[in-house]
């Protein structure tokens, strides 16, 4: 288990903090760690910064993540990793499509030539919007409190995507699924980072598998073309005990 001391805790939104720490290890954008809160649990967490100073950007979902949100400067964090296959980084203009905490894994990809479609339930939860030039940012919210009321795919459908050399996507399953369906024949090389419940992170427990692929090892980043061929994605997944349930 790696231990690191938190340099800084930054409140990004009412429910999201970024913890920065120094860890001298190569990490690709899109890779993740298993973050351990001793006495609570261990959860997968993308690196939201991959320079010499690393970061996790954590949303308060439940049991373990709520404990992470209680950490302050100088506290220790425990994790193992980095795991998985990250995004393919290519030169050129990029379109970054993120929903909710999904923006965390996309953050290391944002640069001066990036356009963003950032979405969330409501305007206060829009993450990392200020990292884009104002003119390069489009926003969608579920409640319409800012930008388009609706989903990123609605914005995408109205856009000319031909200027973008790269398209990177991360967010809730149904958000990604709708975008994959739309892009499958147009931009099969676009990439999305998928999320499923993860117990081991190292390709043995099968809890993160989609159509035979282990997200923790083969992914979490896949091309849109690959995802379009995964029969289970967007339809079914296994519960914590392994029961097949529909994805909603």
């Amino acid at each position: 288990m790696i231990r690191a001391r938190i340099n800084n805790v930054r409140h990004e939104t009412p429910s999201v903090n970024t913890l920065t720490f120094t860890w001298d290890h190569a990490v690709q954008p899109g890779q993740f760690a298993m973050l351990w809160m001793p006495g609570y649990g261990e959860i997968p967490m993308s690196f939201s910064s991959t320079g010499k100073e690393k970061a996790f950007t954590v949303k308060n979902y439940g049991l373990t993540s709520s404990k992470v949100l209680e950490l302050v400067d100088g506290d220790y964090i425990y994790f193992r990793g980095p795991y998985g296959r990250g995004y393919t980084e290519r030169k050129g203009r990029s379109l970054i499509i993120g929903g909710g905490s999904g923006m965390a894994s996309l953050r290391p990809l944002i640069n001066d030539d990036s356009y963003g479609i950032v979405s969330a339930k409501t305007r206060s939860e829009l993450l990392f919007r200020h990292m884009f030039h104002e003119a390069s940012l489009m926003v969608a919210t579920d409640d319409g409190s800012e930008g388009v009321k609706g989903f990123p795919v609605d914005i995408l459908k109205d856009m000319d995507i031909s200027p973008f050399k790269n398209i990177y996507i991360c967010g809730p399953e149904m958000m990604i699924f709708s975008i994959v369906k739309y892009l499958a024949d147009k931009r099969p090389e676009a990439e999305a980072s998928l999320e499923r419940s993860m117990k081991c992170g190292i390709g043995v427990c099968d809890s993160c598998s989609v159509s035979g692929f282990q997200l923790c090892r083969d992914g979490p980043v896949f091309s849109v073309g690959e995802i379009a061929n995964m029969k289970e994605y967007g339809h079914e997944k296994l519960s914590f005990s392994g029961r097949r349930v529909p994805v909603t």
Partner: protein
């Protein structure tokens, strides 16, 4: 040409490498994929009568050349597992149903369903080292072991393998109690734990778990050798196999076929194809035409 096929109690295996129980075998799509990627067959995750949630995370500790797990036998229960079996069996290769429980009745009920679902054999998990009331606690009691095997053998036609633990004071006694089975699977994980010296506490939420991977290879070899010498029965050897040479050693100790678990995590699903290639290469170099020539050879000597 060398022949790497195996016949395991009538089950035809295109190579000696099966996927071990508990690794990438909860989801039917995954089992199918592992077989497409080269495994001769799979053993399912251990399934019980009722759904079981398992332990909270952390459920694994990743170590140098080993891992410790305490998944806690989470499974959806035998009825829900039928769907996964259907998906897996589409591949056409043998799927062995691993099952567990506390009493002979539980085992029987689950075994019958597994056979209905199309399992090629039953593997009785008598050896999980970290869940109270099942696994090793059952598998170290010779009277119970005998009763479970009688009950299951009396209810299904497919072969039944008893998977034993290395955490036994007297493995020979348990093996003898299990002689009504068709063969053995050896070994399950070794009871172990990890402590984080900075956090000053056990890492696994359950504290204790099972050690697997290369660190336990020589414990597994010993147990296969001991039980093969004692019983002569067909054995599926498992524990720390990550190369064809490891598998050859297990076969020389008496394994008719082998299973691979942790190494699939360490090297990916592609390990099955690599193992098959390495094994063919080894046999050519050593002038071995069929694996029957080497199974148990280190026991006779």
């Amino acid at each position: 040409m060398v022949n790497i096929e195996r016949n395991l109690c009538g089950i035809r295996l295109e190579n000696p490498f099966l996927l071990a129980s508990g690794i990438l075998d909860e989801n039917g799509y995954t089992m199918k994929k592992v077989m497409e990627d080269g495994a001769a067959g799979v053993v399912t995750k251990s399934i019980s009568k009722e759904e079981k949630t398992g332990y909270k995370t952390p459920v694994v500790v990743e170590l140098e050349g080993a891992m410790i797990n305490a998944i806690g036998l989470s499974n959806p229960g035998i009825d829900a597992f039928g769907e996964e079996m259907k998906l897996a069996i589409k591949c056409g290769k043998p799927v062995i149903g691993s099952i567990f429980g506390s009493l002979p009745d539980d085992f029987r009920a689950v075994a019958i369903k597994m056979e209905e679902f199309g399992a090629s054999a039953i593997e009785l998990n008598l050896s999980c080292p970290h869940v109270v009331g099942v696994g090793l606690e059952v598998g170290s009691d010779p009277v119970l072991v005998r009763a479970i095997i009688r009950e299951v053998k009396g209810s299904v036609k497919i072969p039944v393998f008893a998977k034993l633990s290395p955490n036994l004071s007297n493995p020979g006694e348990i093996a003898n109690a299990a002689l009504d089975s068709d063969g053995f699977t050896l070994i399950n994980t070794v009871r172990a734990m990890a402590i984080d010296p900075h956090a000053r506490r056990p890492v696994l939420s359950n504290a204790y778990g099972g050690l697997s991977g290369p660190a336990i290879k020589y414990i597994g070899l010993r147990m296969v050798h001991e039980i093969y010498r004692e019983t002569g029965r067909p054995i599926m050897g498992v524990g720390g196999i990550s190369s064809a040479l490891d598998a050859v050693e297990y076969m020389m100790a008496g394994s008719a076929a082998v299973q691979v678990g942790t190494a699939v995590g360490m090297h990916g699903r592609k390990i099955f194809k690599e193992l098959t290639l390495q094994l063919t290469e080894f046999m050519k170099e050593e002038g071995i035409a069929s694996l029957d020539e080497i199974v148990g050879i280190a026991v006779k000597k």
